[in-house]
């Protein structure tokens, strides 16, 4: 439901994995071939003097490294913090206009809280449901309601869906229009701790 960029996540994991695999593979192969190992270690010890001298005599290299690290940290922090957003507080906006589905005297904004409270109230007494939570998300420029229901142990998921569909039909009648609704039926910790089905 959220706006996490999943392709980006997979690309980042893939690229880091590829770098580690190639680096590890190259070093392992290089170390096992005596010729390569000789050449590389010789080259490395030859390069040791000049590189340490360069770092000592030209401190700007260190500043460049520091700035590069800072830029990478900012990019990675942005990447980590942009995960999981997409919830919205506004369910529906109807702009002023002359068409049938528009208001004539002003702008109408319906808060997601309205849908949350109406649906949670309607489903609170359903026997098969231990708890219910309604959240609005913004998916592809559309408001989508997510109804998460924790099922009582042993209840048929089709029964639960039927009850929720009825509540949604009532809500549609109340709202006068339809917004997409996603029902999530879970059997998490709360339903494990709930008593087994009571006779309904």
């Amino acid at each position: 439901m959220n706006s996490t960029n999943r392709a980006l996540n997979r690309i980042v994991v893939f690229v880091i994995g590829l770098v580690l695999l190639l680096a590890g593979g190259a070093v392992a192969v290089g170390a096992l071939l005596p010729d390569v190992q000789q050449t590389v270690s010789q080259g490395a010890s030859d390069a040791k003097g000049p590189t340490t001298d360069a770092l000592d005599q030209q401190p700007w290299i260190l500043w460049v490294v520091a700035v590069a690290c800072l830029v990478l940290i900012v990019l990675l922090a942005w990447f980590a913090l942009r995960q999981g957003h997409g919830q919205t507080g506004t369910l529906l906006t109807v702009d002023e206009g002359s068409r049938g589905d528009q208001t004539t005297g002003g702008r109408l904004v319906i808060d997601a809280k309205v849908a949350e409270q109406v649906l949670e109230e309607a489903l609170a007494d359903t026997p098969g449901i231990v708890s219910v939570d309604v959240t609005a998300f913004r998916v592809k420029r559309e408001s989508v309601l997510r109804v998460t229901a924790n099922a009582r142990r042993g209840v048929s998921p089709t029964d639960i869906r039927r009850s929720i569909d009825q509540a949604v039909a009532h809500w549609d009648g109340l709202l006068g229009t339809e917004t997409p609704v996603v029902i999530q039926i879970n059997g998490g910790l709360r339903s494990q701790m709930s008593s087994a089905t009571r006779l309904d």
Binding site: N2, R6, A23, V65, L76, V147, T158
Partner: protein, 192 residues
């Protein structure tokens, strides 16, 4: 975007992992490493004592590592390569979350496999007239295995369990659909 394709997209996203956990973990690890390198660089540039290791020593140590004993170098490299391989597999695997999507209508539903398993277990225990604790159900990607432990000294009607479970599965419109198998255990429980 039409509602049908919107629902399809949402079901796909809700039934598969976003890989956010591993991506954030890697990002945090890299941030720590870069923060350390950056701090050490600034400390050396302004002439302060290093926290752990000055960049000059760090570069020298890395170059020295090339002539480290072959065995140690290979071992470290193989471990690094294996971690890389695991990450590549994780990034390409579908990452199912143990849920399945139902047919979209006015609404669309995503159901946890555990709910399905418990529902089948209840159906089986009613149909076979056995205690719910004698039924265990495991739901895989495309199949559900119902294991019933018989009550010692009593007949257990496997066929009625099988029919009841089939009826329940037929009422489902989940994809991937489930095939089922009822297995009656050889040993019975006493006094249930």
């Amino acid at each position: 975007m039409s509602t049908a394709s919107l629902y399809k997209r949402i079901v796909r996203r809700e039934t598969h992992s976003s890989r956010a956990g591993i991506a954030i973990t890697l990002a945090v690890l890299l941030i720590v490493v870069f923060a350390w390198i950056g701090t050490e660089s600034v400390l050396e540039a302004v002439g302060q004592a290093p926290l752990l290791l000055a960049p000059t020593d760090l570069v020298a140590a890395t170059l020295d590592a090339a002539s480290a004993p072959v065995g140690a170098l290979t071992a470290v490299a193989v471990v690094v390569a294996l971690i890389g391989l695991v990450l590549i597999v994780v990034s390409l695997a579908p990452g199912r979350r143990g849920r399945r999507g139902a047919k979209a209508d006015r609404t669309v539903a995503v159901v946890d496999d555990r709910v399905i398993a418990r529902s089948l277990a209840r159906t089986a225990s009613y149909a076979g007239d056995v205690d719910p604790s004698q039924v265990s159900v495991s739901v895989g990607k495309r199949s559900a295995l119902i294991e019933v432990t018989r009550t010692s000294g009593r007949q257990t009607d496997v066929r009625s369990i099988d029919e009841a479970v089939r009826d329940e599965l037929d009422a489902y419109d989940f994809s991937p659909a489930l095939r089922h198998k009822v297995k009656l255990s050889e040993k019975g429980t006493v006094g249930a």
